[in-house]
Symmetry: C2
Subunit: 174 residues, 2 copies
């Protein structure tokens, strides 16, 4: 199973993915998180932030995720992955693909601004920032939507885990 | 554990890797083969055959191999991987790395020429063919050396399996 967290920078993708990881590991399942930022420092370090490079970035992470999935690992991908078509291509590669839209309004993300990206973009120091001058195409029918501006982390985690119940029944809080 | 088969095209890397895979699977172990040709059609499809691109190819396969290894999968990589330094970089990424030098003289490889590469190179239709106009740096101290011009497949497989015995004791034929 591949659980794919998509959304703007600072929407909460990694936070939720890591909290889900914790729950699944505690249940004795084999889990691997693929974090977009980490992948950009390793597998995808040759890529920039043009639309073309972003699509290639999603493609490569998708290939690795599907390889891990084929080996019985639950893969949690946390990556902006702004393009709908590219995400749908990954879905085709996977056996079970759960798309989680980690959704917070951009002004909320901008207030969090964990990596200082938005501030740099506003100061004109960087370009190609998703939601500012680079597009984000939200999922039209996400399997799960987490509204991180009004749902806390445990709520979001439970929503995700409920969506995995068919395959991995866990004891949930609610 | 990552078992990395390096050698010229048509030296027998994939043949031995797949035979090793069969043995390990029969022993109930989780195994994934990463074949260089397949990787070039998927994860590395943007890469060509310049030295730089070959190094990047090895680097990416190495990252994926180490990710799988971290999840308890035995990874068998069959890729020309002509550059010593690049292979050594992968070794550093892995927990246990077994370098298998699949060694046959180039004239033997050229007679087999499974993909018709050497014939095309001789006809001047392609360039950047390892062993013809692109370098191959053999391992200086391979963990295993298979001389596929004078050892048959079962012999080679046994040599490889013997090198894995510390971690995965299997019943071997000899």
């Amino acid at each position: 199973m591949v659980i794919w967290f998509t959304g703007l920078s600072s929407a909460g993708k990694t936070t939720i993915a890591e909290a889900v990881e914790k729950q699944l590991c505690q249940a004795g399942l084999a889990v691997q998180v693929l974090d977009g930022d980490q992948m950009r420092r390793s597998l995808c370090r040759d890529l920039g932030f043009s639309n073309e490079d972003r699509i290639e970035n999603i493609r490569r992470i998708g290939i690795v995720a599907s390889l891990l999935e084929r080996n019985g690992i639950i893969v949690l991908v946390a990556a902006i992955s702004p393009f709908r078509q590219a995400r749908n291509e990954v879905r085709k590669l996977c056996d079970a693909f759960i798309e989680v839209y980690v959704n917070a309004p951009i002004d909320v993300c901008e207030k969090r601004d964990q990596e200082g990206l938005y501030a740099k973009a506003r100061r004109g120091e960087i370009t190609h920032v998703t939601g500012i001058d680079s597009p984000y195409e939200p999922p039209l029918q996400p399997d799960v939507e987490c509204r991180t501006d009004r749902e806390d982390v445990p709520e979001c985690v439970n929503k995700v885990l409920r969506a995995t119940q068919d395959r991995f029944p866990l004891a949930l809080d609610n």
